[in-house]
Protein backbone atom coordinates (compact mmCIF):
# COMPACT_ATOMS: atom_id res chain seq x y z
CA UNK A 1 0.00 0.00 0.00
CA UNK A 2 1.39 3.36 -1.05
CA UNK A 3 1.15 6.28 1.41
CA UNK A 4 -0.28 9.56 0.15
CA UNK A 5 1.08 13.04 0.92
CA UNK A 6 -1.16 13.62 3.98
CA UNK A 7 -0.20 10.28 5.42
CA UNK A 8 3.47 10.93 4.79
CA UNK A 9 3.20 14.28 6.57
CA UNK A 10 1.56 12.67 9.59
CA UNK A 11 4.24 10.02 9.62
CA UNK A 12 6.81 12.76 9.78
CA UNK A 13 5.03 14.41 12.69
CA UNK A 14 4.57 11.32 14.82
CA UNK A 15 7.65 9.29 14.06
CA UNK A 16 10.08 11.83 12.56
CA UNK A 17 10.07 9.56 9.54
CA UNK A 18 10.71 11.02 6.12
CA UNK A 19 10.91 7.64 4.48
CA UNK A 20 10.61 3.98 5.30
CA UNK A 21 12.60 3.36 8.49
CA UNK A 22 15.58 1.08 8.82
CA UNK A 23 15.22 -1.99 10.97
CA UNK A 24 11.93 -3.53 12.00
CA UNK A 25 8.75 -1.59 11.39
CA UNK A 26 5.03 -1.88 10.98
CA UNK A 27 3.05 0.96 9.46
CA UNK A 28 -0.70 0.99 9.85
CA UNK A 29 -2.69 3.39 7.71
CA UNK A 30 -6.48 3.71 7.88
CA UNK A 31 -6.87 0.38 9.61
CA UNK A 32 -4.72 -1.56 7.17
CA UNK A 33 -1.17 -2.74 7.00
CA UNK A 34 0.85 -0.31 4.91
CA UNK A 35 4.25 -1.83 5.33
CA UNK A 36 6.17 -4.23 7.55
CA UNK A 37 9.70 -5.39 7.94
CA UNK A 38 11.30 -7.83 10.35
CA UNK A 39 14.92 -7.97 11.32
CA UNK A 40 16.98 -11.00 12.30
CA UNK A 41 16.16 -10.30 15.95
CA UNK A 42 12.77 -8.64 15.81
CA UNK A 43 9.73 -10.39 14.47
CA UNK A 44 6.36 -8.73 13.93
CA UNK A 45 3.31 -10.89 13.37
CA UNK A 46 -0.39 -10.09 12.95
CA UNK A 47 -2.60 -11.26 15.79
CA UNK A 48 -5.16 -13.86 14.83
CA UNK A 49 -7.71 -13.25 17.59
CA UNK A 50 -7.74 -9.45 17.80
CA UNK A 51 -6.72 -6.56 15.58
CA UNK A 52 -3.10 -5.73 16.22
CA UNK A 53 0.37 -7.19 16.21
CA UNK A 54 2.82 -9.11 18.34
CA UNK A 55 6.36 -7.85 18.39
CA UNK A 56 8.92 -10.35 19.59
CA UNK A 57 12.39 -9.13 20.38
CA UNK A 58 14.96 -11.86 20.91
CA UNK A 59 17.08 -11.93 24.08
CA UNK A 60 20.33 -9.94 23.87
CA UNK A 61 19.16 -7.82 20.92
CA UNK A 62 21.11 -4.58 21.14
CA UNK A 63 21.03 -1.24 19.35
CA UNK A 64 17.97 -2.01 17.27
CA UNK A 65 14.80 -0.05 16.83
CA UNK A 66 11.17 -0.83 16.06
CA UNK A 67 8.86 1.72 14.48
CA UNK A 68 5.12 1.16 14.67
CA UNK A 69 3.41 4.37 13.55
CA UNK A 70 -0.31 4.60 12.90
CA UNK A 71 -1.87 7.03 10.47
CA UNK A 72 -5.56 7.86 10.17
CA UNK A 73 -6.56 10.11 7.31
CA UNK A 74 -10.13 8.93 6.71
CA UNK A 75 -12.96 10.64 8.55
CA UNK A 76 -15.18 8.40 10.65
CA UNK A 77 -12.68 5.65 11.23
CA UNK A 78 -12.79 4.10 14.69
CA UNK A 79 -10.44 1.34 15.71
CA UNK A 80 -8.99 -0.39 18.72
CA UNK A 81 -5.66 -2.07 18.18
CA UNK A 82 -3.78 -4.40 20.51
CA UNK A 83 -0.02 -4.44 20.22
CA UNK A 84 2.05 -6.69 22.46
CA UNK A 85 5.78 -6.37 22.85
CA UNK A 86 7.77 -9.29 24.18
CA UNK A 87 11.23 -8.02 24.97
CA UNK A 88 13.75 -10.80 25.60
CA UNK A 89 16.23 -10.92 28.50
CA UNK A 90 19.11 -8.43 28.22
CA UNK A 91 17.73 -6.84 25.07
CA UNK A 92 18.22 -3.07 24.69
CA UNK A 93 15.99 -1.49 22.05
CA UNK A 94 14.23 1.70 21.05
CA UNK A 95 10.54 1.52 20.19
CA UNK A 96 8.93 4.40 18.35
CA UNK A 97 5.15 4.43 18.26
CA UNK A 98 2.88 7.32 17.52
CA UNK A 99 -0.44 8.07 16.01
CA UNK A 100 -1.46 10.89 13.80
CA UNK A 101 -5.00 11.69 12.74
CA UNK A 102 -5.85 13.97 9.87
CA UNK A 103 -9.57 14.47 9.97
CA UNK A 104 -11.00 16.88 7.46
CA UNK A 105 -14.43 15.27 7.44
CA UNK A 106 -17.48 15.63 9.62
CA UNK A 107 -17.28 12.36 11.46
CA UNK A 108 -15.17 11.51 14.47
CA UNK A 109 -11.97 9.57 13.94
CA UNK A 110 -10.67 7.50 16.80
CA UNK A 111 -7.67 5.30 17.41
CA UNK A 112 -7.38 3.42 20.67
CA UNK A 113 -4.02 1.72 20.92
CA UNK A 114 -3.53 -0.81 23.67
CA UNK A 115 0.18 -1.44 24.07
CA UNK A 116 1.41 -4.13 26.39
CA UNK A 117 5.08 -4.54 27.17
CA UNK A 118 6.56 -7.63 28.74
CA UNK A 119 10.18 -6.98 29.61
CA UNK A 120 12.45 -9.92 30.34
CA UNK A 121 15.19 -9.92 32.96
CA UNK A 122 17.57 -6.96 32.60
CA UNK A 123 15.91 -5.87 29.36
CA UNK A 124 15.87 -2.19 28.52
CA UNK A 125 13.55 -0.20 26.32
CA UNK A 126 13.14 3.37 25.37
CA UNK A 127 9.60 3.92 24.17
CA UNK A 128 8.78 7.10 22.31
CA UNK A 129 5.14 7.87 21.61
CA UNK A 130 3.93 10.97 19.88
CA UNK A 131 0.34 11.91 19.17
CA UNK A 132 -0.70 14.45 16.65
CA UNK A 133 -3.92 15.64 15.08
CA UNK A 134 -4.67 17.88 12.15
CA UNK A 135 -7.50 18.75 9.78
CA UNK A 136 -10.22 21.34 9.98
CA UNK A 137 -13.29 19.15 9.69
CA UNK A 138 -16.01 19.16 12.35
CA UNK A 139 -15.21 15.53 13.16
CA UNK A 140 -13.27 15.02 16.35
CA UNK A 141 -9.83 13.46 16.55
CA UNK A 142 -9.81 11.06 19.44
CA UNK A 143 -6.93 9.01 20.83
CA UNK A 144 -7.25 6.78 23.85
CA UNK A 145 -3.96 4.99 24.41
CA UNK A 146 -3.45 2.34 27.05
CA UNK A 147 0.10 1.37 27.97
CA UNK A 148 0.70 -1.59 30.24
CA UNK A 149 4.16 -2.52 31.36
CA UNK A 150 5.29 -5.65 33.15
CA UNK A 151 8.88 -5.21 34.19
CA UNK A 152 10.81 -8.29 35.21
CA UNK A 153 13.85 -8.26 37.50
CA UNK A 154 16.50 -5.70 36.63
CA UNK A 155 14.66 -4.40 33.58
CA UNK A 156 14.15 -0.76 32.81
CA UNK A 157 11.83 1.30 30.67
CA UNK A 158 12.06 4.92 29.66
CA UNK A 159 8.84 6.31 28.25
CA UNK A 160 8.61 9.59 26.39
CA UNK A 161 5.04 10.44 25.62
CA UNK A 162 4.16 13.60 23.80
CA UNK A 163 0.86 15.06 22.71
CA UNK A 164 1.25 18.65 21.69
CA UNK A 165 -1.26 19.45 19.06
CA UNK A 166 -4.57 18.82 17.48
CA UNK A 167 -6.03 15.89 19.42
CA UNK A 168 -9.56 16.78 20.57
CA UNK A 169 -10.03 14.22 23.20
CA UNK A 170 -7.66 11.82 24.85
CA UNK A 171 -7.96 9.42 27.70
CA UNK A 172 -4.62 7.85 28.34
CA UNK A 173 -3.90 5.17 30.86
CA UNK A 174 -0.49 3.90 31.85
CA UNK A 175 -0.20 0.92 34.17
CA UNK A 176 3.08 -0.59 35.31
CA UNK A 177 4.20 -3.31 37.69
CA UNK A 178 7.85 -3.54 38.64
CA UNK A 179 9.76 -6.48 40.03
CA UNK A 180 13.07 -6.48 41.92
CA UNK A 181 15.60 -3.87 40.71
CA UNK A 182 13.33 -2.77 37.85
CA UNK A 183 13.06 0.89 37.00
CA UNK A 184 10.57 3.05 35.17
CA UNK A 185 11.11 6.59 33.96
CA UNK A 186 8.24 8.48 32.35
CA UNK A 187 8.42 11.89 30.73
CA UNK A 188 5.02 13.04 29.57
CA UNK A 189 4.40 16.27 27.67
CA UNK A 190 0.88 17.38 27.08
CA UNK A 191 -0.66 20.47 25.61
CA UNK A 192 -4.34 21.07 25.10
CA UNK A 193 -6.01 23.98 23.41
CA UNK A 194 -9.40 25.04 22.06
CA UNK A 195 -12.16 22.94 23.61
CA UNK A 196 -9.98 19.87 24.05
CA UNK A 197 -9.96 17.60 27.03
CA UNK A 198 -7.27 15.22 28.18
CA UNK A 199 -7.18 12.66 30.93
CA UNK A 200 -3.92 11.07 31.87
CA UNK A 201 -4.00 8.34 34.45
CA UNK A 202 -1.03 6.48 35.87
CA UNK A 203 -1.06 3.48 38.10
CA UNK A 204 2.40 2.29 39.03
CA UNK A 205 3.06 -0.56 41.47
CA UNK A 206 6.53 -0.97 42.91
CA UNK A 207 6.25 -4.65 43.82
CA UNK A 208 9.89 -5.68 43.91
CA UNK A 209 12.69 -4.81 46.27
CA UNK A 210 14.80 -1.88 45.09
CA UNK A 211 12.44 -1.06 42.25
CA UNK A 212 12.06 2.59 41.32
CA UNK A 213 9.79 4.87 39.35
CA UNK A 214 10.10 8.47 38.31
CA UNK A 215 7.03 9.86 36.55
CA UNK A 216 7.13 13.48 35.44
CA UNK A 217 4.24 15.06 33.60
CA UNK A 218 4.52 18.55 32.22
CA UNK A 219 1.45 20.05 30.69
CA UNK A 220 -0.01 23.25 29.36
CA UNK A 221 -3.75 23.92 29.16
CA UNK A 222 -4.71 26.84 26.91
CA UNK A 223 -7.97 28.38 25.72
CA UNK A 224 -10.95 26.50 27.19
CA UNK A 225 -9.25 23.14 27.45
CA UNK A 226 -9.41 20.77 30.40
CA UNK A 227 -6.90 18.30 31.79
CA UNK A 228 -7.05 15.77 34.54
CA UNK A 229 -3.79 14.26 35.67
CA UNK A 230 -4.06 11.32 37.98
CA UNK A 231 -0.79 9.87 39.18
CA UNK A 232 -1.01 6.94 41.55
CA UNK A 233 2.04 5.23 42.97
CA UNK A 234 2.09 2.18 45.21
CA UNK A 235 5.17 1.17 47.17
CA UNK A 236 4.65 -2.49 47.98
CA UNK A 237 8.31 -3.23 48.78
CA UNK A 238 11.47 -1.34 49.79
CA UNK A 239 11.44 0.97 46.79
CA UNK A 240 11.69 4.54 45.60
CA UNK A 241 9.03 6.45 43.75
CA UNK A 242 8.70 10.01 42.59
CA UNK A 243 5.88 11.61 40.66
CA UNK A 244 5.59 15.17 39.52
CA UNK A 245 2.85 17.12 37.77
CA UNK A 246 4.00 20.47 36.64
CA UNK A 247 1.41 22.47 34.75
CA UNK A 248 0.91 25.85 33.21
CA UNK A 249 -2.60 27.18 32.78
CA UNK A 250 -3.45 29.96 30.37
CA UNK A 251 -6.59 31.73 29.17
CA UNK A 252 -9.55 29.74 30.57
CA UNK A 253 -7.68 26.45 30.83
CA UNK A 254 -8.47 24.14 33.73
CA UNK A 255 -6.33 21.45 35.29
CA UNK A 256 -7.10 18.97 38.00
CA UNK A 257 -4.09 17.13 39.41
CA UNK A 258 -4.87 14.17 41.62
CA UNK A 259 -1.70 12.70 43.03
CA UNK A 260 -1.86 9.65 45.20
CA UNK A 261 0.78 7.74 47.07
CA UNK A 262 0.25 4.43 48.82
CA UNK A 263 3.04 2.98 50.94
CA UNK A 264 2.58 -0.62 51.93
CA UNK A 265 6.13 -1.17 53.14
CA UNK A 266 8.02 0.86 55.74
CA UNK A 267 10.98 1.11 53.39
CA UNK A 268 9.00 2.50 50.49
CA UNK A 269 10.05 6.09 49.89
CA UNK A 270 7.45 7.92 47.88
CA UNK A 271 7.42 11.55 46.92
CA UNK A 272 4.93 13.58 44.97
CA UNK A 273 5.24 17.11 43.68
CA UNK A 274 2.51 19.06 41.99
CA UNK A 275 2.43 22.62 40.82
CA UNK A 276 -0.13 24.40 38.68
CA UNK A 277 0.11 28.03 37.80
CA UNK A 278 0.28 30.60 35.11
CA UNK A 279 3.56 31.64 33.52
CA UNK A 280 5.61 33.58 36.05
CA UNK A 281 5.59 37.31 35.36
CA UNK A 282 9.34 37.55 35.93
CA UNK A 283 9.95 34.97 33.18
CA UNK A 284 7.95 37.02 30.69
CA UNK A 285 9.70 40.22 31.76
CA UNK A 286 13.14 38.65 31.45
CA UNK A 287 12.51 37.53 27.89
CA UNK A 288 10.96 40.89 27.03
CA UNK A 289 14.13 42.62 28.22
CA UNK A 290 15.90 40.44 25.65
CA UNK A 291 13.69 41.93 22.94
CA UNK A 292 10.83 39.41 22.65
CA UNK A 293 7.23 40.60 22.58
CA UNK A 294 4.96 39.27 25.32
CA UNK A 295 3.45 36.73 22.91
CA UNK A 296 6.87 35.57 21.70
CA UNK A 297 8.08 35.30 25.29
CA UNK A 298 5.05 33.17 26.15
CA UNK A 299 5.72 30.82 23.22
CA UNK A 300 9.43 30.53 24.11
CA UNK A 301 8.55 29.63 27.70
CA UNK A 302 5.98 27.02 26.66
CA UNK A 303 8.20 25.52 23.97
CA UNK A 304 10.98 25.16 26.52
CA UNK A 305 8.65 23.77 29.17
CA UNK A 306 7.31 21.11 26.80
CA UNK A 307 10.65 20.28 25.23
Amino acid sequence: MELNAIQKNILKEVAALESIPKGAYNIRANGQLAGRSNSANIEITTKTDLPGIDIRIKPNTKNESVHIPVVLSESGLKETVYNDFYVGDNADVVIVAGCGISNCGGQDSEHDGVHRFFLGKNAKIKYVEKHYGEGDGAGKRILNPVTELTLDEGSSAILEMVQIKGVDSTNRKTVATLKKDASLIVRERLMTHGEQSAFSIYDVALDGENSSADVVSRSVARDNSYQKLDLALKGNAPSKGHTECDSIIMDNGKILAVPSLEANDTDAMLVHEAAIGKIAGEQLIKLMTLGLSEKEAEEAIINGFLK
Binding site: I285, M288, T289, L290, G291, F305, L306
Partner: protein, 247 residues
Protein backbone atom coordinates in the same frame (compact mmCIF):
# COMPACT_ATOMS: atom_id res chain seq x y z
CA UNK B 1 22.79 58.59 25.90
CA UNK B 2 20.09 58.21 28.54
CA UNK B 3 18.40 61.13 30.15
CA UNK B 4 16.07 60.97 33.15
CA UNK B 5 14.10 64.14 33.82
CA UNK B 6 12.20 64.72 37.07
CA UNK B 7 11.44 61.06 37.60
CA UNK B 8 9.21 60.17 40.53
CA UNK B 9 7.95 56.78 41.53
CA UNK B 10 5.37 56.16 44.21
CA UNK B 11 4.32 52.82 45.60
CA UNK B 12 1.57 51.79 47.98
CA UNK B 13 2.17 50.01 51.24
CA UNK B 14 -0.01 49.39 54.31
CA UNK B 15 0.64 52.96 55.51
CA UNK B 16 -0.44 54.48 52.22
CA UNK B 17 1.67 56.11 49.55
CA UNK B 18 5.46 55.87 49.71
CA UNK B 19 7.79 57.88 47.49
CA UNK B 20 10.55 55.59 46.26
CA UNK B 21 12.08 57.99 43.73
CA UNK B 22 11.68 61.72 44.23
CA UNK B 23 11.96 64.11 41.30
CA UNK B 24 15.23 62.61 40.12
CA UNK B 25 17.14 63.84 37.08
CA UNK B 26 20.20 62.08 35.76
CA UNK B 27 22.18 61.66 32.52
CA UNK B 28 24.04 58.48 31.66
CA UNK B 29 26.79 59.22 29.18
CA UNK B 30 28.14 57.04 26.39
CA UNK B 31 31.63 55.58 26.70
CA UNK B 32 31.34 55.56 30.47
CA UNK B 33 30.70 53.23 33.36
CA UNK B 34 28.25 54.80 35.79
CA UNK B 35 27.89 53.13 39.16
CA UNK B 36 24.81 53.84 41.22
CA UNK B 37 25.32 53.18 44.89
CA UNK B 38 23.54 53.96 48.13
CA UNK B 39 21.94 52.23 51.11
CA UNK B 40 19.28 49.52 50.84
CA UNK B 41 15.91 51.00 50.05
CA UNK B 42 17.39 54.10 48.45
CA UNK B 43 15.61 53.33 45.17
CA UNK B 44 18.52 52.01 43.08
CA UNK B 45 16.83 48.87 41.78
CA UNK B 46 13.59 50.74 41.18
CA UNK B 47 15.49 53.25 39.09
CA UNK B 48 17.02 50.45 37.00
CA UNK B 49 13.61 48.85 36.51
CA UNK B 50 12.16 52.20 35.45
CA UNK B 51 14.88 52.56 32.81
CA UNK B 52 14.26 49.02 31.50
CA UNK B 53 10.52 49.75 31.34
CA UNK B 54 9.54 47.18 33.96
CA UNK B 55 8.15 49.90 36.21
CA UNK B 56 6.36 53.00 34.96
CA UNK B 57 7.37 56.25 36.66
CA UNK B 58 4.59 58.21 38.39
CA UNK B 59 5.97 61.39 36.86
CA UNK B 60 8.84 62.51 34.66
CA UNK B 61 10.35 61.73 31.28
CA UNK B 62 12.97 59.34 29.98
CA UNK B 63 14.79 59.76 26.70
CA UNK B 64 17.23 57.37 25.11
CA UNK B 65 19.44 58.31 22.17
CA UNK B 66 17.37 61.46 21.80
CA UNK B 67 14.04 59.67 21.67
CA UNK B 68 11.35 59.93 24.33
CA UNK B 69 10.83 56.40 25.67
CA UNK B 70 8.68 57.24 28.69
CA UNK B 71 5.75 55.30 27.23
CA UNK B 72 7.77 52.65 25.40
CA UNK B 73 7.32 49.01 26.41
CA UNK B 74 10.03 46.73 27.78
CA UNK B 75 10.33 45.07 24.37
CA UNK B 76 10.61 48.36 22.50
CA UNK B 77 13.32 49.60 24.83
CA UNK B 78 15.19 46.30 24.55
CA UNK B 79 15.10 46.51 20.77
CA UNK B 80 16.31 50.11 20.89
CA UNK B 81 19.39 48.93 22.78
CA UNK B 82 18.69 48.78 26.51
CA UNK B 83 19.82 45.63 28.24
CA UNK B 84 19.12 44.67 31.83
CA UNK B 85 20.82 42.05 34.00
CA UNK B 86 18.53 41.09 36.86
CA UNK B 87 19.69 41.07 40.45
CA UNK B 88 17.97 37.73 40.86
CA UNK B 89 18.14 35.96 37.52
CA UNK B 90 15.03 34.11 36.44
CA UNK B 91 14.98 30.34 36.05
CA UNK B 92 13.26 28.60 33.15
CA UNK B 93 12.31 24.94 32.97
CA UNK B 94 13.36 23.48 29.65
CA UNK B 95 15.12 26.56 28.25
CA UNK B 96 18.82 25.82 27.88
CA UNK B 97 21.70 28.24 28.21
CA UNK B 98 22.26 28.23 24.46
CA UNK B 99 18.54 28.90 23.85
CA UNK B 100 18.74 31.96 26.07
CA UNK B 101 21.94 33.18 24.40
CA UNK B 102 20.27 32.76 21.01
CA UNK B 103 17.24 34.78 22.09
CA UNK B 104 19.56 37.45 23.50
CA UNK B 105 21.78 37.70 20.43
CA UNK B 106 18.80 37.56 18.04
CA UNK B 107 20.59 35.11 15.82
CA UNK B 108 21.17 31.42 15.52
CA UNK B 109 24.31 31.64 17.57
CA UNK B 110 26.75 28.82 16.90
CA UNK B 111 27.96 26.65 19.76
CA UNK B 112 31.44 28.13 19.42
CA UNK B 113 30.21 31.69 19.87
CA UNK B 114 27.93 30.67 22.73
CA UNK B 115 30.88 28.99 24.43
CA UNK B 116 32.96 32.15 24.01
CA UNK B 117 30.42 34.16 26.01
CA UNK B 118 30.34 31.53 28.73
CA UNK B 119 34.10 31.30 28.93
CA UNK B 120 34.23 35.03 29.29
CA UNK B 121 32.16 34.85 32.47
CA UNK B 122 34.35 32.06 33.80
CA UNK B 123 32.14 29.08 33.11
CA UNK B 124 33.56 25.94 31.57
CA UNK B 125 31.51 26.39 28.44
CA UNK B 126 31.06 22.78 27.34
CA UNK B 127 29.55 21.84 30.68
CA UNK B 128 26.99 24.61 30.57
CA UNK B 129 25.92 25.34 27.02
CA UNK B 130 23.22 22.65 26.99
CA UNK B 131 22.24 22.93 30.65
CA UNK B 132 18.72 24.05 31.41
CA UNK B 133 18.47 27.43 33.10
CA UNK B 134 16.55 25.77 35.94
CA UNK B 135 16.79 25.10 39.65
CA UNK B 136 19.76 22.78 39.15
CA UNK B 137 22.02 25.80 38.69
CA UNK B 138 23.47 27.53 41.73
CA UNK B 139 22.89 31.22 42.33
CA UNK B 140 26.45 32.05 41.26
CA UNK B 141 26.21 29.99 38.06
CA UNK B 142 22.91 31.60 37.21
CA UNK B 143 24.32 35.05 37.79
CA UNK B 144 27.21 34.41 35.40
CA UNK B 145 24.83 33.08 32.77
CA UNK B 146 22.76 36.24 33.23
CA UNK B 147 25.87 38.33 32.57
CA UNK B 148 26.80 36.22 29.52
CA UNK B 149 23.26 36.77 28.23
CA UNK B 150 23.44 40.55 28.42
CA UNK B 151 26.92 40.45 26.87
CA UNK B 152 25.50 38.45 23.96
CA UNK B 153 23.02 41.27 23.37
CA UNK B 154 25.76 43.77 22.66
CA UNK B 155 23.37 46.55 23.68
CA UNK B 156 24.07 50.27 23.66
CA UNK B 157 23.19 50.61 27.34
CA UNK B 158 23.65 47.70 29.69
CA UNK B 159 22.32 47.91 33.24
CA UNK B 160 23.53 45.50 35.92
CA UNK B 161 21.49 45.34 39.10
CA UNK B 162 23.85 44.27 41.89
CA UNK B 163 25.94 41.87 39.81
CA UNK B 164 27.89 40.83 42.90
CA UNK B 165 24.79 39.65 44.81
CA UNK B 166 24.94 35.90 45.27
CA UNK B 167 28.48 35.57 43.97
CA UNK B 168 31.15 34.04 46.19
CA UNK B 169 34.47 35.69 46.87
CA UNK B 170 36.39 33.52 44.40
CA UNK B 171 33.95 34.29 41.59
CA UNK B 172 33.96 37.92 42.60
CA UNK B 173 37.54 38.37 41.40
CA UNK B 174 36.43 36.97 38.08
CA UNK B 175 33.46 39.32 37.99
CA UNK B 176 35.71 42.33 38.47
CA UNK B 177 37.79 41.08 35.54
CA UNK B 178 34.63 40.89 33.39
CA UNK B 179 33.73 44.50 34.15
CA UNK B 180 37.28 45.71 33.57
CA UNK B 181 37.15 44.01 30.19
CA UNK B 182 33.80 45.53 29.37
CA UNK B 183 35.15 48.93 30.37
CA UNK B 184 38.06 48.44 27.96
CA UNK B 185 35.77 47.50 25.08
CA UNK B 186 33.03 50.01 25.84
CA UNK B 187 33.34 51.92 22.50
CA UNK B 188 30.13 53.94 22.00
CA UNK B 189 28.10 52.04 24.54
CA UNK B 190 27.37 52.80 28.17
CA UNK B 191 27.32 50.64 31.27
CA UNK B 192 25.31 51.31 34.39
CA UNK B 193 26.01 49.19 37.45
CA UNK B 194 24.15 49.18 40.73
CA UNK B 195 26.61 48.12 43.37
CA UNK B 196 28.01 48.61 46.84
CA UNK B 197 31.36 47.01 46.15
CA UNK B 198 34.53 49.04 46.39
CA UNK B 199 36.17 47.07 43.57
CA UNK B 200 33.28 47.82 41.24
CA UNK B 201 33.16 51.46 42.31
CA UNK B 202 36.84 51.62 41.37
CA UNK B 203 35.93 50.88 37.75
CA UNK B 204 33.38 53.72 37.67
CA UNK B 205 33.93 56.79 35.56
CA UNK B 206 30.95 58.37 37.28
CA UNK B 207 29.48 57.55 40.67
CA UNK B 208 25.96 58.46 41.73
CA UNK B 209 24.98 58.06 45.39
CA UNK B 210 21.26 57.64 45.99
CA UNK B 211 19.63 58.14 49.33
CA UNK B 212 15.90 57.96 50.02
CA UNK B 213 15.07 58.29 46.33
CA UNK B 214 17.23 61.34 45.74
CA UNK B 215 20.75 61.94 44.44
CA UNK B 216 22.89 62.65 47.46
CA UNK B 217 26.25 62.91 45.69
CA UNK B 218 27.35 62.64 42.12
CA UNK B 219 30.65 63.10 40.34
CA UNK B 220 33.75 61.53 38.83
CA UNK B 221 34.66 58.21 40.40
CA UNK B 222 38.15 59.24 41.39
CA UNK B 223 36.77 62.12 43.40
CA UNK B 224 33.72 60.50 44.95
CA UNK B 225 35.12 57.10 45.88
CA UNK B 226 37.59 58.28 48.55
CA UNK B 227 34.77 60.17 50.28
CA UNK B 228 32.51 57.12 50.19
CA UNK B 229 35.20 54.90 51.64
CA UNK B 230 35.78 57.36 54.40
CA UNK B 231 32.12 57.57 55.26
CA UNK B 232 31.79 53.79 55.24
CA UNK B 233 29.19 53.80 52.48
CA UNK B 234 31.13 51.43 50.24
CA UNK B 235 31.58 47.81 51.18
CA UNK B 236 34.49 45.44 50.88
CA UNK B 237 34.12 41.99 49.36
CA UNK B 238 33.29 40.42 52.70
CA UNK B 239 30.18 42.57 52.86
CA UNK B 240 31.51 44.51 55.86
CA UNK B 241 31.50 48.28 55.72
CA UNK B 242 34.93 49.65 54.94
CA UNK B 243 36.00 52.30 57.25
CA UNK B 244 39.64 53.13 56.66
CA UNK B 245 40.20 53.85 60.35
CA UNK B 246 39.08 50.31 61.21
CA UNK B 247 41.46 48.65 58.77
Amino acid sequence: MLSLKNISFDAEDENGKVSIIKNLSLDIEAQEVTVITGPNGSGKSTLARIIAGIEKPTAGNISFLGEDITDSSITERANMGISFAFQQPVRFKGISVIDLLRIASKKNLGRGEACDYLSEVGLCARDYVDREVNASLSGGELKRIEIATVMARGAKLTIFDEPEAGIDLWSFQNLIGIFQNMRKNIKDSAIMIISHQERILEIADEIVVLNAGEIEKKGRGVLILPKLLKSGQARANCGRAINKEDC
